[in-house]
């Protein structure tokens, strides 16, 4: 059997988006930190998965939250792909993409990630404690850690910029090696 032609898949996905039939659109992007699965809902990016995360599980998770009508389209997500590629190759100073934290059920965790996305720019870092404080609850450093560990939109919501107050680089949902690469890319790797 011959595989489905890309032209058919592309125009199917574009027609679906045009008719408002897609609950979410996704694309697979090869980058210097591995393949990313990038999922966008009607109001912004809802999920970015690293290569180790099983794609089926990530897509099922999004479908459970936004609806089952997921379509793949490199074309529809062209600007998002370009922005992520440029950022990961060290070009462009801000990853300014709309984000929808629909996947985050807990209100405080959502608030933490919104604060992080809004306030902590490229080249800056913040400690878990300081982010807790900026999010309005100075004693919630542990909850901030959980929020970062479960961040559904890494890279764009920059949890790699959150470091332990005690020094060092700390943990990262995508692995410490990636956190190091990202901080180095931004010239913010602590000694």
């Amino acid at each position: 059997m011959t595989p489905l032609p890309d032209s058919l898949l592309d125009s199917l996905a574009s027609a679906a988006v045009r008719e408002g039939l897609a609950d979410a659109v996704f694309t697979r992007l090869d980058t210097p930190i591995g393949r990313l699965l990038v999922v966008q809902g009607p109001r912004g990016l809802v999920r970015i998965g690293f290569a180790e995360e099983p794609e089926d599980a990530v897509l099922a998770q999004v479908a459970g939250r936004l609806g089952p009508r997921l379509v793949a389209s490199d074309r529809e997500l062209g600007p998002v792909r370009d922005a992520l590629s440029a950022y990961l190759e060290g070009e462009g100073d801000r990853l300014d993409l709309p984000v929808d934290l629909e996947m985050v059920a807990a209100p405080f965790r959502r608030h933490v990630l919104e604060t992080l996305h809004r306030e902590v720019g490229r080249g800056e870092v913040v400690t878990y404690g300081a982010l807790a404080e900026r999010s309005g609850n100075p004693r919630a450093a542990r909850a901030v850690g959980t929020a970062c560990a479960r961040n559904p939109v890494p890279l764009v919501v920059p949890c790699h910029r959150v470091l332990p107050g005690s020094g060092g680089i700390g943990a990262y949902g995508g692995g410490v090696a990636r956190k190091r690469v990202l901080l180095a890319l931004e010239g913010a790797l602590p000694d």
Binding site: M1, T2, P3, L4, P5, S7, L8, L9, S11, L12, A15, A16, E19, L21, D23, F26, G41, P42, R43, G44, D56, L59, A60, V62, A63, G64, R65, L66, G67, P68, R69, L70, V71, A72, D96, L97, P98, V99, D100, L101, E102, A105, E114, H117, R118
Partner: protein, 169 residues
């Protein structure tokens, strides 16, 4: 600046607890797309197969959230592809009156339901399967058939009526 319009999750975006856990639509496309294209090719020929399949998958996507169960999704996609091929053939035949209606293979003609509806024309059988096998409501049937809900209801009720007449006669 990033925009956060979704402070509270919108209920309309989530599937209701009663709705079935449907797999992401694109997983079906990636899993069954090739064989569906082969099916479309058998029904419509190489020149029309891709257009037919694209149209069929769009129809399926429209109806997808209204499916009431997640069983037999592959068979359902075959059915939608078959219907779309028939419709496409009809509209082409209006332009080219020499062609023949394609001989359509029925995928699951083993069970009693298929035996019961076998004497009916294909359009009636497809409408009945969408309504009673796939358990779609009339809007869902309409999406799959590419017609209005009123027309879908008429097609189903006409089919049921002729079935009744046939079996009471």
């Amino acid at each position: 600046m990033p925009r956060y319009t979704g402070v509270t999750p919108s209920a309309s975006l989530r599937s209701s607890p009663a709705s079935p856990r449907l797999p992401p639509f694109w997983s079906l496309v990636e899993a069954h797309g090739e064989e569906l294209l082969a099916h479309a090719r058998r029904l419509s020929g190489p020149d029309h197969a891709e257009d037919v399949l694209q149209d069929a998958l769009l129809r399926a996507l429209r109806a997808y959230p209204r499916l009431r169960h997640a069983d037999h999704l592959r068979a359902w996609l075959y059915r939608v592809t078959t219907t779309t091929a028939i419709d496409a053939h009809r509209s082409r035949r209006r332009e080219l009156p020499v062609e023949e209606v394609p001989a359509v293979a029925v995928e699951d003609d083993r069970d009693d339901f298929e035996a019961l509806i076998a004497p009916l024309p294909e359009t009636s059988r497809v409408a009945l399967r969408l309504r009673f096998v796939d358990d779609l409501d009339y809007e869902g049937v309409a999406d799959a058939l590419g017609c209005s809900p009123v027309a879908a209801r008429q097609r189903v009720s006409t089919a049921v009526r002729s079935l009744r007449e046939r079996h009471l006669a």
